[in-house]
Amino acid sequence: MEPSIPLRIAYAFASLAVITVYGLLLIGSMARISAKVQGRVGQPVWQPFIDIVKSSGKRNSISHGVMFWLGPVFRLAGGVGTYMFVPAVLGSVVFQNFSMSGDLLLVMYFIFFGQLGMALGASEGGHPYSAIGVSRGLAQMTAFEVPFALSIISIAVQYGTLDITKIVMAQQGGFLNWTLFTNPLAVVAAMIAFLGMSGHNPFSVVIAPQEIPIGPPTEYQSNLLGMLQTNRAVFNGAKLVLYMNLFFGGATNVPVMVVKTFLIYFVNIFVGQAFPRFRTDQAIRFFLGVPTLIGIAAVVLFAF
């Protein structure tokens, strides 16, 4: 019973609303937890909601040209689009989103869409720091892509398909046949890649939040900044859902999804606290070293 087009769009909006709210809450709670770890009180959990409302409400904003506007539009469209192509919850029509338009490769490559748009917008702004930030971000991206790609290939060989829904179905029936247990090496490589992807310490040189605010968001304020912050939530949500589906058995209902994604993100943050920041070339050398070997091992395990 394929739902009709308008109904499908409505479902899409609903699913989007859920993931956005959940994403913002996730960021808020994570910020709070890391504050607690560092002995601070930390910001309230709903702080991200306040930020978005505050920046969207700004009376005027500045612009450096057409591309400068389109940057955040690309970014948010990238985030939302990525989420649209990932089936969040197995079996439920609402959360199936538009995953029928492409398989895992589409999702992997659509991640670049947002980054590309953001990079163009930032460099239109003319601020040298944004160009430096993009240069570091892209350099690091090519590095962590390798272990991630290897783990994807290993899964593709293991399950004989790149269709996310099929992968999730193959992991049903008890947590023992999650990819975590059937193909642990791939999961380790993917999780390390996820660190790089999310930009937390030790790979946070791209936006270097502690030091002077450099990197793409430097020039943006007002509603453009609001869109970027929204995207942070949606994009993280989408990535978490993807990881959940691929490696942790996916979810048959929303609460399971929330718990699993929370835990995945928690691992990410947990690791982030314990490490100083890598320089870009160190990050590159790191990713092309041990994680890649693990990825290769994962592929060898299943290929031959």
Binding site: R59, V73, L120, M227, I284
Partner: protein
């Protein structure tokens, strides 16, 4: 039929009377001299015409009795052709030497006449002792002519020449007298087949005669004296030696062949081919032009002798000798004469210093002559080499073929370097710096132009006789000539005409094309027309660009529809030649074009050998792995596969901007077409079997990774795009190496989409560099405000290339990964992930450095790229968008074509969704979702955006100080410094170093060998005697 004895009577009578006539006045003797030469040429032409009409031979007996008693002459088709050649060269040489002849005492003219008579005697006589007499006449006349030059150089050279000539004639005499003693006669025809020749003495006697003739043909290493003679001689005389004397001597050698046993013929063959290879090798180190021509002449004459001997050993009937050796000889004859005359006209005294630069017509003639001499199409030597290599491979003479290839490559290198010095003046890289005056050469230019026309006509004739009669074959040449004639017209008009011409060729060629060919025709001919139109973007005449461009595109077109392997190969080499000249026309195209030429010629020779091994005909060839390997290597060189890619960045970047775009977008696709056709014809087995194909796959993937990696660190936009093209082609090669339905669909899809978006990017960069006047990226910046359309086209280009979903690029990535994983090539898939990641880097760097970031002051008033560039970009843009929205538009034809070749359905369409064993992709739905999401977000952004203020350039949040200079705030130089620290070591240019080492080895070996020519006449004589002795040992006579 006038008896040929009239030649001798006339020459001698005039010769004897010339001193008396000279007493009456130099005018009288000069007119007598020219009248005789012209009469002789007329007579020779008359003989040639009559024998072509009525083939047969005319035996002439002197002295009134039948042969054994008297000396017999013979005049047949071959003899009259040789006579005509001698007469033609004599006329041209005399014309070039006319000043020297008139100033010298009358004995100069007398000796010139005696030389010509001696040579015609050599051709006609059938009596061996009489051959000796004429050998002496032409020899002594040659030494005397060489001696009329007052310089000390000429004296000593003539002396060395005489010493060698003396040894040769002594050997000849001993040989002849014992031949008489053993066979009882001096007449060649009666001597053939007589019993006396069998024994050791007979073989030795024949050997001595043969050795004398060989020494006269200046074999390596016993030709030191000859090289000095060429260097010292007045170029007209040089032409006479290398053209006329060589022809007569070769003909004499050919006459003696029936006497020779197979061992003798083998000696001649190997002596000749060794001379060809090593003389040309030593030629590499020559800078003095005439000395270089000396080496080239010695090499070419050796080559003809080798061809003759080869024909005599392996091929029955004389048509091989006539077609191959004759073709090579006439090619050498005209080309060398033309080059010598050119050197006379343009160089002060042959040490390479130029008196002036030739005009367009003479420059074109010089190009034709050099191309003909090197054996490029459509000139006679090309066809001759083709047949020679075919028979050589059939008789498993592989070393012979290798030497032919090596010699040709060396000769091409130094001849084209000389041509570049001649045409673009001595200054190395900055022709503007010292504008050498263009010399209106007038009379002196006539000789070379005539020679060039002659050679072109003969090339055309030999093509016609090989059955190439369909107009498409002649289209490239006709097009080139037509546009050479139209060269005076303004550039823009020519651009339109060129587009029309290419479109017309497409219109005529399309009906006869199969689906497979149509696909590539779209890319190549469509791309050709597009870039022809873009060619109008420059103001002014663009002299020399359009003839070459049209020729290259049309030859590519013909390559698609060629039925026979020879037709395809001819188009292939023509396209390489046109490409070379176009790269040469680039501002700093000199060294890049030379490297490109070397790789093209080397690759083409490998391909020729492969095509020949594979049976030559595209249709009926039996599958043979060796043929596929060789042809494959040649194609990998043209594709710029990793390892053989050294020429690619320089050639793509240094050519004119619009040709660079065509070169990278369309021309590389012909290599893909050829690879696919080769697989269809020669079967899919490679010598190494499956492993070999896996290696080819890895070569492709490595090319992609390292190409992209190298592109990141380039500061010059065109070099970055060149390396990027190399990378993209790496993907295509890997996809081809998979040899299944999924692989080939990917390859064709990648090739087609690469053509689309790479064309846009090149043209956009062309517009940017035209407006800003520079190609270095960090000098540009902020052009989005002034050149929005170029920015959009470049943006769509990078989105498509990087594979970001909505556009066609993602289809390519999707197909690639699915076919790689399905094939089981997992690590290749991981490596291509890395490569496409890296691709992302340089794409962003280019668009940031050129269009975004800080605009420079001088670029404030820059206008948008000219309409001529923008229109093609828009067309391509529309195509990319169309294929992105409806992938089936392009995938259906591709899958139909591939389906015919590999029926197994790896990829299949279900409605709009493309399904493979591993997953699915619905292009239409993807782009709809993306667009909807984008529009919604855009509307959301516009709603919240209140009163946006457009701020000025430097109003940015900057730590403390206010930036005021765009140069300091445009971060673009060494953009990926951290990346260089991490992975820079991978692209340290190791293959460049490897290939330079190879070139260095060749030149150092050349340097070592040329130490042999010590300049001491006695040593040269010793070399001659030793050479004869060693040849005798090879003969193995007990």
């Amino acid at each position: 039929m006038v008896t040929p004895l009239a030649i001798f009577a006339a020459f001698l009578a005039t010769g004897f009377l010339l001193p008396l006539a000279d007493k009456l006045g130099r005018r009288v003797s000069a007119t007598l001299f020219w009248a005789l030469l012209a009469g002789f040429a007329g007579l020779a032409a008359y003989y040639l015409a009559s024998f072509v009409a009525a083939p047969g031979t005319l035996e002439i007996y002197t002295g009134g009795f039948e042969p054994p008693l008297v000396i017999a002459l013979r005049l047949g088709l071959e003899e009259s052709a040789a006579l005509a050649a001698v007469a033609a060269v004599a006329l041209l040489a005399a014309f070039s030497m006319r000043k020297a002849l008139h100033e010298a005492p009358v004995s100069g003219m007398m000796t010139f006449l005696m030389l010509v008579m001696g040579l015609s005697g050599l051709v006609l006589t059938r009596d061996l002792f009489n051959l000796f007499v004429f050998l002496e006449i032409s020899g002594i006349a040659g030494y005397a002519l060489l001696g009329f030059d007052d310089r000390r150089l000429a004296m000593s050279a003539a002396f060395k020449y005489m010493v060698a000539g003396g040894i040769a004639s002594a050997a000849y005499l001993v040989g002849v007298i014992y031949l008489y003693r053993l066979t009882g006669t001096l007449n060649l025809d009666l001597m053939i087949g007589s019993a006396g020749l069998e024994g050791a003495a007979g073989a030795a006697a024949v050997f001595f005669v043969l050795a004398a003739l060989l020494v006269e043909l200046k074999p390596f290493p016993a030709n030191g004296w000859a090289i000095d003679a060429y260097e010292a001689a007045n170029p007209g005389l040089g032409a006479l030696f290398s053209g006329a004397q060589a022809t007569a001597m070769l003909f004499a050698l050919y006459k003696v062949f029936p006497l020779l046993s197979d061992a003798h013929l083998a000696v001649v063959m190997w002596a000749g081919i060794v001379t060809f290879a090593f003389s040309n090798l030593v030629g590499l180190r020559q800078t003095a032009t005439r000395r270089m021509f000396g080496y080239s002449s010695a090499g070419q004459v050796g080559f003809v002798a080798a061809a003759l001997a080869f024909g005599a050993r392996y091929v029955e009937g004389s048509d091989f000798a006539w077609l191959v050796a004759g073709g090579l000889l006439v090619n050498h004859l005209l080309a060398k004469t033309g080059l010598f005359l050119l050197s006379a006209a343009f160089e002060s005294d042959g040490d390479g210093s130029m008196k002036g630069r030739p005009g367009t017509l003479v420059a074109a003639a010089a190009g034709v002559l050099v191309a003909a001499l090197v054996g490029l199409p459509p000139f006679p030597a090309f066809w001759a080499k083709w047949d020679l290599v075919r028979v050589a491979l059939a008789t498993r003479e592989y070393a012979f073929v290798a030497l032919v290839g090596a010699g040709g490559l060396f000769e091409a290198w130094y001849l084209f370097s000389w041509l570049v010095r001649l045409v673009k003046g001595g200054a190395d890289e900055t022709p503007e710096a010292a504008p050498v005056p263009v010399l209106r050469v007038g009379a002196d230019g006539v000789g070379p132009v005539l020679a060039a026309l002659g050679i072109a006509a003969l090339g055309g004739l030999s093509a016609w006789t090989r059955g190439f009669t369909d107009p498409l074959f002649w289209a490239p040449l006709a097009g080139g000539l037509l546009f050479l004639a139209l060269d005076r017209l303004p550039g823009k008009l020519k651009a339109l005409l060129a587009t029309a011409a290419i479109a017309a060729f497409g219109y005529f060629a399309l009906p006869s094309m199969s689906e497979f060919q149509k696909l590539f025709a779209l890319m190549i001919l469509g791309g050709g027309a597009l870039h022809a139109f873009a060619g109008g973007y420059l103001t002014g005449r663009r002299a020399g660009h359009f003839p070459l461009y049209v020729m290259t595109v049309l030859s590519l077109g013909y390559a698609l529809v060629a039925e026979s392997a020879l037709g395809f190969f001819m188009a292939w080499e023509l396209m390489a030649l046109g490409g070379y000249f176009l790269v040469l026309q680039g501002a700093k195209g000199r060294s890049a074009s030379m490297i490109y030429l070397a790789f093209s010629i080397g690759g083409a020779f490998l391909m020729m050998a492969g095509l020949q091994l594979g049976g030559g005909l595209i249709g009926g060839a039996a599958p043979s792995p060796a043929a596929l390997a060789l042809v494959g290597l040649g194609l990998l060189a043209k594709l710029g596969a990793f390892g053989l890619h050294v020429w690619l960045p320089g050639a793509y970047a240094e050519a004119a901007d619009d040709f660079s775009s065509f070169f990278s977008a369309s021309l590389s696709k012909v290599a893909v077409f050829a690879l696919m056709a080769a697989l269809a014809v020669f079967g899919e087995a490679l010598p190494g079997g499956e492993l070999a194909w896996r290696v080819v796959g890895w070569v492709g993937i490595l090319g992609a990774v390292l190409g992209a990696l190298a592109a990141i660190f380039q500061e010059d936009a065109k070099y970055a795009l060149a390396f990027s093209s190399m990378g993209q082609m790496g993907y295509v090669l890997a996809a081809l190496a998979m040899r299944d339905q999924m692989g080939w669909t990917t390859a064709l899809y990648l090739a087609a989409t690469h053509f689309l978006y790479k064309g846009m990017m090149w043209l956009s960069v062309a517009g940017a560099s035209l407006r800003t006047g520079t190609r270095t990226m960090y000098l540009m910046g902020g052009l989005i405000k002034r050149m929005p359309i170029s920015f959009v086209s470049f943006l769509v280009g990078i989105i498509a290339l990087s594979g970001v979903p909505p556009l066609t690029g993602f289809g390519g990535k999707w197909l690639l990964y699915h076919s790689l994983i399905a094939k089981g090539w997992y690590f290749e898939a991981a490596a291509s992930f890395l490569a496409s990641g890296i691709a992302f880097l340089y794409l962003y760097r280019m668009i940031h450095s050129i269009f975004l970031g800080q605009p420079k002051d001088e670029h404030r008033t820059v206008k948008e790229a000219p309409f001529w560039l923008v229109l093609p970009q828009l067309l391509l843009l529309v195509a990319v968008i169309a294929f992105s929205v409806f992938p089936r538009l392009i995938l259906d034809p591709i899958m139909a074509v591939v389906g015919a070749r590999y029926p197994a359905a790896g990829f299949a369409f279900e409605g709009q969704t493309l399904v493979s064993s591993l997953g699915y992709w619905n292009g239409l739905l993807t782009i709809v979702v993306v667009v909807v999401v984008f529009v919604l977000t855009f509307i959301w952004m516009v709603m919240n955006l209140r009163k946006p203020r457009l701020v000025k350039q430097f109003n940015i949040v900057f730590a403390a100080e206010r930036p005021f200079r765009p140069e300091t705030t445009h971060f673009a130089f060494d953009f990926f410094a951290p990346y260089r620290r991490a992975l820079g070591f991978l692209v340290r240019g190791r293959s460049e170093k490897a290939w330079t080492a190879v070139a260095g080895l060749a030149t150092s070996v050349a340097g070592a060998i040329r130490r042999l020519y010590t300049g001491n006449g006695q040593t040269y004589a010793l070399h001659v005697v030793l050479y004869v002795g060693i040849l005798y040992l090879f003969l193995g006579v007990r």
